[in-house]
Assembly symmetry: C2
Homo-oligomer: 225 residues x 2
Amino acid sequence: MPKDGAASPSHWKAFASRRRDPATKREAVLQTAAHLFLEKSYGRTSLNDVAERLNITKPALYHYFRNKEEILLECYRLGTGLIEEILNEIALHCGTGLEKVAAFIYSYANVMTVNFGRCVMRLDEGDLSSEAFAEVRTYKRKIDRRLRSFIQEGIEDGSITPCDPKIAAFSIAGAVNWICIWYEPEGELPAEEIASQFARTLTQGLARTTTNGGEREVSRQEPLP
Amino acid sequence: MPKDGAASPSHWKAFASRRRDPATKREAVLQTAAHLFLEKSYGRTSLNDVAERLNITKPALYHYFRNKEEILLECYRLGTGLIEEILNEIALHCGTGLEKVAAFIYSYANVMTVNFGRCVMRLDEGDLSSEAFAEVRTYKRKIDRRLRSFIQEGIEDGSITPCDPKIAAFSIAGAVNWICIWYEPEGELPAEEIASQFARTLTQGLARTTTNGGEREVSRQEPLP
């Protein structure tokens, strides 16, 4: 997973050396823009701000992107690309439906702590053109469908308790997407610990289980009427 | 829990009769405004829109609220008020920490399907004055602290598996808050069913459990490295 925690000095260094390849420079623009979009909001970030942060001129920036929306869409594409990669890997390498769901939560939670991932869930899709908006919605729908299919698989292979996969997928997606709202890259909670606990409690539950003469007993509760 | 699913005819009826009391009329203004804020966004809703929907004049509206922000703040207050009521009831009437957490999820999920509740999590606090913003943040912090204290209680009374209460509270809050993003009042999923499944899977987990000669066995998985 690419590191993009901050607009680090390495980003403008990509432009400081003439020998760096265009792909590295393009990536530096995106990293810096994503950082600013999250820090100041998309609306309040200008291309001037991005150029200034990279220590380059605005025309130099236009060499890589035609406008701010193109940068925004590319941030979305990189973020959803990270999630898609995970989904493909999980579908290939994990066993039961429950294992797939747990692996998904763990990896997705990690993506929600890096800037391109945070952009996917935190920025306002309303800032995209209708074409780009449709593209992003299609990506998101695909992610949701895959998660639901993992849950369905788990119900069928007996690793997951029968439930409505749609509601279950919404609860998982909500818990994980919300990370992009509260997570602080410089905060006290390490991404790794968040991801592990999320994968554990969302699949195994909060309840402490005990055994009683062969009978499984979970600390049960009835929701309020 | 008050019904506020839509700006129903009953809202303008509150103004159609001269005999209705001012509290009913004030409530009708709030219900209608909340509905419009969620439907069109706060920024794109004018006081004219609210007055028009209620079939009254703008001066009549000023009898109840000085400006749009006052209406917004009142929507937040009503939404957080619903949640606070729940918290107090749970603290008084529930048993173990786990029972409290489950009751919290169930009731909070229900609040997230009514308009005042949806306003609390979906509208942009940045539209509030700094004083009102501070007030809303204080409410939200209080809710978070109470949820964490329920989880801590559960760890201490043995009903909840040891975990970081802060991370656990974030995962629950995220799952439940996200409802206000995807829930459709006219959609196919009943609020009651969402709330029940959320309470169940977030406390008991997705994993299907089996017993094996007295040994408890949960369908275990290891997250991807």
